[in-house]
Amino acid sequence: MTAYKFLEAGAVSPFAGFRWPLDEWVDAAGADPCRRGIHACRIRDLPFWLNDELWEIELDGDIVEQERKVVAPRGRLVRRVDGWNRDVLHEFGSSVLARTRTRFGAVAGLAGYVGDIQLHLASGRVPLAAFAAARAAEVNGGPAEYERERSRQAAWLAARLGLGAA
């Protein structure tokens, strides 16, 4: 199965600090794949894990689907998604701002989130801006709206980066 993986600069995993080799199978250590497995994103998971580098990863073995990721015992970085860079990250941020402003810019009690998003983008905190947008949606319409905003974010990323196409 092909999935995606956000890594820190240098192909380093953000939580384990593991430096990923290119094009080499990596086995997750340990008996419990949910804890110790290779984590990856489906397209819908992308907005949650934004980071410096985006990679396509091939997964092998029993793949477990979780709420915000898939987990497999083995994985191999296949190719870097070159289209993903700091500029596109900021484009993403702008798209989130635009959408939130359109929806809530004139709504009392929610317009404040638009200001928050602007503030976060100004300081380069794009993941926080994206969270704030989803948060605003949730305040407006409950958890389903949170998910819907996140889906829109994922769709934007997929379209902009040409992901999911054959």
Binding site: K69, L128, E138, G142, P143
Partner: protein, 82 residues
Amino acid sequence: MRLDRELPCIEVVELVTAYLEDALSVADRQRVEEHFVFCDGCTTYLEQIRQTIVLTGRMEPEDIPPALQEKLLAAFHDWTPA
């Protein structure tokens, strides 16, 4: 208004030890990591806990006093191996 999905920072800081011990449920661990992606404050807090652990590990104990050392040697001499 505290929302369903919410794992706010005030709760995350209470979970850092369990996170570092790898003792969180799969769901909680994911929620915590998801939070670290967008939250500089909590990322910094976690880093500081890690730094605290490293520093704590550098504490050298005082030597045992010579009088105690002698008592221990005496105890050794009183002891007969089996």
